[in-house]
Structures are given as structure tokens and as C-alpha cells.
């Protein structure tokens, strides 16, 4: 699975509940699992401290939800408050993407983590806790078939039982995700404005400029 910012418009898949609040990026990928200077090869380290029986080991911990047969091929995580708080490590998002996660649904996200999601084609959906509990309840009998459908264009999550939840997302983030855009490319279109700002700013705040 690529870690690139592939477009995401609609997605349905297996949804796994990890409803604990404040799941931090150290839990999503521990420090020691970032072994090479790369955005790839991180999927294996996803949730390593919970997913494997021993630190640094690879023997699956049968108690961890993503290791259970019912949750194989999970691509949607149902999360608690402040998911992705802590360290800025984008590796957390790269690891989720490489594992196959395309959508996260939480009442709130860590701020840096949220931006990292948008930059990597991982859709962060914000819904209130009650809605997330309902979604989780509606998917637990048979997660493989009770797959929620997330429609980013319409900003909705639809369950097989017909329940529908609308979510809001900033227009700019939505545009980036639907089109798989690269923010750097978009910003470079403003190069002339940046140069003009800098020219004026050098007069006013010359002290802030080094090496000139």
C-alpha cells in the first residue's frame, strides 16, 4: 500500500474500534520502529507495543483487535478523543497508510497529526463520541460485512442499517484529499506574492534576516 497522497472520495471497509482517548503517536508507532530514513517500511511497526507479544518482536498478540480474524483488512479506525496527540512524527501517518488505513473517525485529533493526515491521503473524520459509539456498535457483530461507507464529497458516514452521520471538514482539506493534491505545489503558485512580501518585510524587519 502506498503512503502517497492518493485521492480519496468514497471509501467503505472494515471498521475497528480503538475508542480509548489520547492515543499518542508513540503508541501508533514507537520510536524504535523508525529504522530507516524513509517514509516506507513503517506499516509493520504500527501499534507495535500492542500488536506484538514482545517488545521488538513480531509474534502477534491475539488480544489486539487488529490481529483478530474478524478485523482482518481493517481500513477504518474508530477512535477516541485527541487521537494522534504527542510527537509530530509523520511516521505515524505513514505507518497507518501502509497498513491500509484510509479513514480515521474520532471526536478530535492531535493538531500536527491532523495536518499530517491531510498531506498523506488519510481522511480524518470528526464526529461526536455518541455517533462513534453507535457506529462501533453497528459494526461489531460482523465487521467484515458491516462496513461503513464514508463519502467525502457528501461529508457523510452511512451504515448498513441506514443510519447516516454528517461531518464537517474544511473546504481546503477536502479539496486536497479528494484530488490527492500536494500543498507544496499549490503554494508555489503564490511564489510572486511570497517574493513581494519578503521584499517589503526586509525593509521593516531586516533584523530577522540572516546572511544578508
Amino acid at each position: 500500500m502506498s503512503t502517497s497522497n492518493a485521492p480519496i472520495v468514497r471509501h467503505s471497509g472494515v471498521a475497528a474500534p480503538l475508542l480509548q482517548a489520547n492515543i499518542d503517536t508513540d503508541v501508533i508507532i514507537p520510536s524504535r520502529e523508525m529504522k530507516i530514513v524513509s517514509k516506507e517500511g513503517l506499516g509493520e511497526g504500527l501499534f507495535a507495543n500492542w500488536r506484538y507479544t514482545l517488545p521488538g518482536g513480531r509474534e502477534a498478540n491475539p488480544d489486539f483487535i487488529l490481529n483478530q480474524t474478524a478485523y482482518r483488512n481493517t481500513s477504518i479506525l474508530l477512535c477516541g478523543n485527541n487521537f494522534g496527540c504527542g510527537s509530530s512524527r509523520e511516521h505515524a501517518v505513514w505507518a497507518l497508510r501502509e497498513y491500509g488505513i484510509r479513514v480515521l473517525i474520532a471526536p478530535s485529533f492531535g493538531a500536527i497529526f491532523y495536518n499530517n493526515c491531510i498531506n498523506n491521503g488519510l481522511l480524518p473524520v470528526v464526529l461526536d463520541e455518541d455517533a462513534i459509539r453507535e457506529i462501533a456498535a453497528a459494526c461489531t457483530d460482523n465487521p467484515q460485512t458491516q462496513q461503513p461507507l464514508i463519502n467525502l464529497e457528501e461529508q457523510s458516514v452511512t451504515l448498513l442499517n441506514g443510519s447516516q452521520y454528517e461531518f464537517s471538514i474544511e473546504a481546503a482539506a477536502k479539496h486536497m484529499l479528494i484530488n490527492g493534491l500536494d500543498q507544496i505545489g499549490l503554494s508555489l503558485q503564490h511564489a510572486a506574492d511570497i517574493e513581494a512580501f519578503e521584499a517589503g518585510d526586509r525593509d521593516q524587519r531586516g533584523w530577522a534576516y540572516l546572511g544578508v
Binding site: M34, K35, N82, E170
Partner: protein
């Protein structure tokens, strides 16, 4: 119209307003380190983009480097040298000043950027590291970003920023003896939640903040991210100006005068509006220690471990129970009776010279408890050198501490180093997350004073017992 400090900092850096909520913000300084900076530079080169203003970009080796005396490129983590080599290569290619291993100015990014005068009041500064908000202590608008955002800043000299809401946190009155900036921020997070600052940029003010040294203000701002705030800052004052003056990358001559004139305008105007206000009586703050797996799980050191069953919210209750299971603590147990295996003084939160001086003053002429492993890692090679010139290293060594080279070290199991599986550690760091300091390690975060006092007794200890 009366402006708050956040407005002033943003307005002076706005290249363009993109929509009602988003602005393109000019970035004055970018700091990188070998773990995330290496990837950003590699990815930037791979996409044929260039670093636009390398003279405003800096890089250090802090996250993965070994901190044992006599270190080289080899780290405790098997492949760590790959990050170090890649960083050396990419920074040389891009013309970026690198504070390499062996450089007299090497150290933790947020310690180096202040002591070198790279971070300045009224500047925007970013680093792919969540604790970049530390530099808010100088009155900089500084925040942590991801690697892709770092590429964006390097390639465009800007970032697109969603307008944060403005929060003011006022600490009225004076701190009691033995209570520090670390206790202030732990108190705030415990009282208002790890999510309490979400969506806000926090201005810290009030008498207790004014009275803090610049280094202590950096400790306070360092953990704004643990409050989920976008950043935190303190308005620069004469103390800030005196701190910055004469530092290697600080402005000089006419530019210094121009800078100082600007910095003196950087306060919230009287009557400025804030979206949220919190007021805290500084005199009521105790030395604080964490008992759980998030900084929100903190309390005064004299208190017992809280009882989850008394919490009305089911989700909070289950999080508390899970945290106490991980920490192997029982409700009602007195915090200051808990035996520790190890003590750590270091990290971007509490490893500056004033932190080491405070801890050394407590340790002087004493020995840590038998069986306790203790390590002190200065925040920068400069701090280390200063401490050695004052003889502080000998105080630490005589007390039974290891004295190390600078780096992030065991704050996050950085170079793969840990006190050992499942050990209980009292630590001057910022995160008590599960596994943060190594597999199953139980971390209690506290001030350097509390860490030193606890190392001496072998149990979590109120530093005021030694005052």
C-alpha cells in the same frame, strides 16, 4: 482596535489571506534534526525542489545520537547511523548549518536555537518536532510540524496556517519555594485536560510568569503541546532582550536597535480580546508528579493516586483504570511513597543550565539511594561545558549520577536506550506515555528538583523536604 499578541505575530508574517480561516505565513527560521529532518530533506531532493533560504535553516543531531562519553556515529539503535549519515549528506548538499556530533554547539534543537540566538522574539519558527513551542518562551511564534510541512516550509519559505483561537492563561501571585515552571504547566494540564488547549494558541501571563527566568518560560511553553495547544508563548520583556543580546545569531548594531524597538511592541494591547481565559492562583500550585500515562494524569506530590470509581464519566474512568494497570498503581496509594528504580534529568523541557544548577544544589554533598540508576544529560554541549566550568558535573557524579553528552537521550527511548523493561522512572521530561522511555517503562514526569529529591530517597519525594 486592540490586538492580542497572537494577532500581532500573525499579522506581521501574513503573506496572503487564503480564505476566512487560512493564511499563508512567512517562516523566519526552520530547524531540523536527524530523525525527521533527514527524511524531509531527502524527500525534497527527490521531488527536485530546493531549500529556498538555507541561511535561515539549521539542523542538529539530537534525537538518535548516543549520549555516552566518547560517542561517535554509532547509536544504541542498530540503524541510527543511517539517519546521522543521511543528515550530514543532505545538509551539506543544501548548504544548511549543521550542529554535528563533536560540534561545540551541538545539542537538543530547542535548547540550541535559543542559546545561539537563532530563535528570536517576534520570529516565526518551525521544526518537525512537537516541542518547538519551547521557543515561545522568548516571545517567538514557534510550533511543531510534520515532515511534509517541513518540506513545504523549506521549499516555499511559508506555511499555510489555520487561524488558531487565542487563549490567555494568567498565573496570578507568586510560586512557593520548590515550585517551578514545570509544576505550573503540569498543574494547568491536570486541571484543564490534555485536550484543553486544542485549537488555541496560548499566551501565558501574570505575575508568576513575569518572574520566571527566560529558561523557565521555555519550560512552561515546552509543554503547551501536551495541553494540545498549537503553541504557547510569553510576551518578550526586558529580561528577554537581555537574554538574547550578544548571542551568536542575534542581530547586532542598527539591526539590534531596530529589533528591540519592534520587540517592545510585542504585548497584547490593553482590552485585547481572547477567545478563552484561564486564571490560576500560582500560590496554590504544589510540586507536581504524574501518576498515569498522559500528562493530564498529574497531581500535587502530597496527594494519593486518584480513584477512577469516583469519576462520573465512563470513558475517563476506563482510561484511568487502564493507566493505573500500566503503571501498576492502586487508587489511594500515596504518590510520595512510590519506590523508583531510576531518575532522569534531561530533555528539551528541563536540561538547561538553570535546571542543572537547581538539581545540583539539592544533590550537593549527598548520595542517591542505593539501587537507583540516575542519569543527567545536558541539553546542549554548551550547557555541558558551562556546567563543567562551574563544577556541577562533579556534584552529579559524586551523588551517583551518570554525566552524559548532550541529546534527547532517554526522553523517548531515542537511541534505543532505556533503564530497562518495566522500570519505574522519575523523569524531568515531558511525556509519560506508555512505552515512551522503553518497553513497559513506568514514567513519572516532574521537575528537576523533584527528580533530584526522589533520586536521593529512592521514592517519589516532595522537593520541599530538602529545602
Amino acid at each position: 482596535m486592540a490586538k492580542n499578541l497572537l494577532d500581532k505575530l500573525l499579522d506581521s508574517h501574513t503573506v496572503k489571506t487564503l480564505d476566512a480561516d487560512h493564511r499563508m505565513i512567512y517562516i523566519d527560521r526552520i530547524f531540523l534534526h536527524e530523525r525527521t529532518g533527514s527524511i524531509a530533506l531527502k524527500s525534497l531532493a527527490a521531488s527536485n525542489r530546493t531549500v529556498q533560504r538555507p541561511e535561515q535553516v539549521f539542523c542538529t543531531m539530537d534525537h538518535i545520537v548516543d549520549t555516552h562519553p566518547g560517542r561517535g556515529d554509532k547509536t544504541q539503535m542498530p540503524s541510527g547511523h543511517l539517519f546521522i549519515e543521511a543528515t550530514r549528506h543532505s545538509t551539506a548538499q543544501a548548504g544548511i548549518r549543521l550542529f554535528d556530533i563533536g560540534d561545540a554547539n551541538q545539542g537538543i534543537a530547542h535548547v540550541v536555537s535559543a542559546e545561539q540566538g537563532i530563535a528570536l522574539p517576534g520570529c516565526t519558527m518551525v521544526c518537525p518536532d512537537s516541542h518547538t513551542c519551547t521557543l515561545g518562551g522568548l516571545g517567538a511564534l514557534a510550533w511543531g510540524i510534520g515532515s511534509t510541512e517541513a518540506e513545504h516550509a523549506l521549499a516555499t519559505k511559508t506555511l499555510v496556517l489555520k487561524k488558531a483561537q487565542a487563549m490567555r492563561v494568567t498565573f496570578n501571585g507568586k510560586l512557593s519555594a520548590g515550585v517551578t515552571a514545570k509544576d505550573m504547566i503540569l498543574h494547568l494540564i491536570a486541571a484543564h485536560g490534555a485536550n484543553g488547549g486544542a485549537g488555541f494558541a496560548v499566551e501565558f501571563c501574570g505575575e508568576a510568569v513575569r518572574e520566571l527566568s527566560i529558561e523557565a518560560r521555555m519550560t512552561l511553553c515546552n509543554m503547551a503541546v501536551e495541553f494540545s495547544a498549537v503553541t504557547g508563548f510569553v510576551a518578550p520583556d526586558e529580561k528577554t532582550i537581555a537574554y538574547v543580546k550578544g548571542r551568536p545569531y542575534a542581530p547586532t548594531g542598527e539591526r539590534w536597535d531596530q529589533a528591540v524597538a519592534h520587540w517592545r511592541t510585542l504585548q497584547s494591547d490593553p482590552g485585547a480580546r481572547f477567545d478563552h481565559e484561564i486564571v490560576i492562583d500560582a500560590g496554590s500550585i504544589e510540586p507536581s508528579v504524574s501518576w498515569g500515562t498522559n500528562p493530564q494524569h498529574s497531581m500535587g506530590v502530597s496527594h494519593p493516586v486518584p480513584s477512577p470509581s469516583e469519576n462520573p464519566e465512563a470513558e475517563v474512568r476506563s482510561a484511568m483504570e487502564k493507566a493505573q494497570r500500566y503503571m501498576q498503581l492502586e487508587p489511594g496509594q500515596k504518590l510520595n511513597s512510590i519506590a523508583i528504580d531510576a531518575a532522569f534529568i534531561g530533555s528539551c523541557t528541563n536540561s538547561r543550565i538553570s535546571d542543572l544548577r537547581a538539581a545540583a544544589a539539592m544533590l550537593k554533598g549527598k548520595r542517591i539511594a542505593p539501587g537507583v540508576a540516575a542519569v543527567c544529560v545536558p541539553g546542549s554541549s554548551q550547557v555541558k561545558q558551562m556546567a563543567e566550568a562551574e563544577g556541577l558535573h562533579q556534584v552529579f557524579i559524586d551523588a551517583g549520577f551518570e554525566w552524559r553528552e548532550s541529546g534527547c537521550s532517554m526522553c523517548f527511548y531515542a537511541g534505543g536506550e532505556t533503564f530497562g523493561e518495566g522500570k519505574r522512572v522519575i523523569s524531568s521530561t515531558n511525556r509519560n506515555f506508555e512505552g515512551r522511555q522503553g518497553p513497559k517503562v513506568k514514567t513519572h514526569i516532574a521537575s528537576p528538583l523533584t527528580v533530584a529529591a526522589s533520586a536521593l530517597t529512592g521514592r517519589i519525594t516532595d522537593p520541599r523536604d530538602f529545602l
